[in-house]
């Protein structure tokens, strides 16, 4: 009985962790290539949650399907953001970039607060409470769909970087910026593209997340922290690390919520972050500096 409970929670953690991983993937891609830390990442994810929420309430679009248009929209936002706001900061000290994006994060979260108010909004899907039985384990349908969607989007991104010319060009920028510029790559364009892709990840993850949890503007800073924790635990700049970190944090938080107390679950992931920083600062997958 208790074993099946643990297995259930473990599976829940894995499924939620895949969605977390997708969100963190966006942060990792942006940092890995553009070398800018998107401090407003969680804020964008929450913005996407509201976009999916509005699509659902107004047009009855399933949030998991809404991930596609929302991701497309966020790609455009990311492109424009990089082109017009972040690009002039590329040569500036790191803390200036950080403060700029902190400012953006404040603006986003308070704009959401003014429009939607502080109350949490719930998306009631027709299959919200459906589940499957695998032996003694209960699997939430909605969580399984959400995880599957996150895997599909992540796989598409991996394939893009692995197999397309454009993806290879972006990886070249990440590996050797000067070299990339010497062989004639348009670095500015590739940066804008990368930022777009990173925000598209946040957008897709946010839209999918609406199916799993209620949305309030207050989620935003905690999502930013969550994404950072995942990326650092996994290894900054490593795409596989982001997904692995997502899984790990998802599982750890799920287990913590039954072993300790639900409201203290993020404390456990911070403990993990501190542990990783103290003993393996390059992250689980990253190479030693």
């Amino acid at each position: 009985m208790t074993l099946s409970l643990y297995l259930e929670v473990l599976l829940q953690g894995i499924l939620t962790g895949l969605v977390y991983g997708l969100m963190a993937l966006g942060l990792s891609v942006i940092f890995g290539v553009v070398r800018v830390v998107n401090f407003a990442h969680g804020e964008f994810a929450v913005l996407a949650m509201y976009a999916a929420f509005v699509l659902f309430t107004a047009l009855h679009v399933d949030p998991i399907l809404a991930a596609i248009p929302v991701a497309a929209l966020f790609f455009v936002i990311g492109w424009l953001l990089q082109r017009f706001v972040v690009q002039p900061f590329i040569v500036r000290p790191q803390h200036d970039q950080f403060i700029l994006l902190v400012g953006l994060a404040i603006v986003l979260v308070n704009a959401l607060l003014m429009i939607f108010g502080p109350d949490s909004r719930h998306t009631n899907l027709s299959y919200s409470y459906d589940s499957w039985f695998i032996g003694p384990i209960i699997v939430d349908k909605v969580r399984a769909y959400a995880a599957a969607a996150a895997v599909v989007v992540s796989a598409a991104l991996f394939a893009f970087f692995r197999f397309t010319l454009l993806g290879t060009a972006i990886r070249a920028c990440a590996d050797n910026l000067t070299g990339a510029a010497v062989v004639g790559l348009d670095v500015k364009k590739l940066y804008a593209l990368t930022f777009g892709l990173g925000l598209a990840c946040a957008g897709a993850a946010g839209a999918i997340m609406v199916a799993l949890t209620d949305v309030t503007p207050m989620l935003a800073p905690s999502f930013t922290l969550l994404a950072f924790t995942i990326v650092i635990v996994g290894g900054l700049g490593s795409m596989a690390g982001a997904l692995l970190g997502g899984l790990l944090i998802g599982v750890v938080e799920a287990l913590a919520s039954i072993l300790v107390e639900p409201s203290m679950k993020s404390m456990v992931s911070f403990a993990l972050l501190v542990g990783v920083l103290a003993f393996r600062p390059q992250g689980l997958v990253g190479k030693p500096a």
């Binding site: 200036d96 403060i99 400012g103 308070n110 003014m114 800073p221 922290l225 404390m267 403990a271 600062p281």
Partner: protein, 334 residues
């Protein structure tokens, strides 16, 4: 020593400084209660701004979790007062000691592996968040429901327990702000200050000169944390209520850094100027948006966020260097 501080400062600057001091000292005699409370916010923001500025402006480390020290010291001093009857003038010592110890732990974790830049900022946020969630669960200080200091009329006038009127708090805040300014001015010209600047500008070159990078960074962190702790004690006894979700929140940490960034990171007058711009602006925004029925705290934060972005994009050195050259002071950029 004080005379040494003024070496190289133009007469014009000296006159303006004395004028500012006189105006600030005389302010409560002419202003009403509300305006005095705004000035308290100004002084407090100037004080915490100086403390934070030591870390980023002098030593080059970005902390986005300074609310940690504010909250820790506030809770400790308030807890000692409420549960054990120990007044804040004594309570400030253990409160600051704990802040320094926690900062030492953070610094030890961070500096051992050269965790700097983004990672350092993140670690500071993580520490503050752990404290926020932790204090939500500590029943001894009220948990998430908040911790309240008794406000009794018979305690009024007990300045030794910080149970006093706004004028008293104003002069205390002014003293803190002025003290921090003088301390930073001294530090700026000290050997330690020069070490910080060397580490900030080029850690490797500094190390080559024989400067112990980690020690320099650690000293800035401990000092900054301890100073912020003192503001936490003030905050606890001034506000009389503490909520983990407010005092440890990331938005509080950001409030603490706005004044020095807008005024000018690394300058002595930046935090003061920033505080003078922001606190009144915040009050005006709240009264305007309240009057037209908008979400006032949201609008204020939104405008501050835009302001922050505009400053960092347009005037990255902050407003003070601009104002200093406008006033034709010699201390441009300081």
């Amino acid at each position: 020593m004080i005379a040494e501080l003024f070496a190289g400062v133009s007469t014009r600057a000296r006159v303006l400084l004395v004028l500012l001091a006189v105006v600030m000292l005389a302010a409560p005699l002419v202003l009403d209660r509300y305006l005095v409370s705004v000035l308290i916010l100004v002084c407090l923001a100037a004080y915490t701004g100086q403390a934070w500025n030591i870390l980023l402006g002098f030593a080059g480390l970005l902390s986005l979790g300074h609310a940690l020290y504010l909250g820790l010291a506030a809770y400790i001093s308030a807890g000692l007062y409420v549960h054990f009857g120990i007044g804040p003038w004594l309570g400030v010592f253990p409160a600051v000691a704990v802040c320094v110890a926690v900062a030492a732990l953070l610094g030890w974790l961070a500096f051992r592996f050269r965790i700097e830049g983004v990672y350092f900022a993140l670690l500071t946020i993580a520490f503050a968040e752990v404290a926020r969630i932790g204090f939500d669960h500590i029943g001894f200080t009220g948990g998430a429901g908040g911790f309240f200091l008794p406000v009794r009329s018979e305690d009024q006038g007990q300045w030794w327990n910080l149970r006093s009127g706004p004028t008293f708090f104003y002069y205390l805040a002014l003293l803190l702000a002025a003290g921090a300014f003088l301390l930073c001015a001294v530090l700026r010209r000290s050997r330690l200050g020069h070490r910080w600047l060397a580490v900030r500008e080029d850690p490797e070159a500094a190390q080559a000169l024989g400067i112990h990078i980690n020690r320099a960074r650690m000293s800035a962190l401990l000092l900054s944390a301890g100073m912020t702790g003192i503001a936490g004690v003030f905050q606890a006894f001034y506000a009389n209520n503490l909520f983990p979700s407010q005092i440890f929140d990331i938005s509080r940490s950001i409030d603490l850094i706005l004044a020095p960034i807008i005024g000018g990171v690394g300058t002595l007058f930046g935090p003061i100027l920033g505080a003078f711009v922001l606190a009144p602006l915040g009050e005006v925004l709240i009264s305007i948006t309240g009057a037209i029925g908008l979400n006032a705290p949201g609008t204020k934060a939104l405008v501050f966020g835009l302001f922050l972005m505009a400053i960092i994009a347009g005037v990255p050195t902050g407003l003070w260097p601009r104002l200093a050259s406008l006033l034709r002071l010699r201390s441009v950029g300081r």
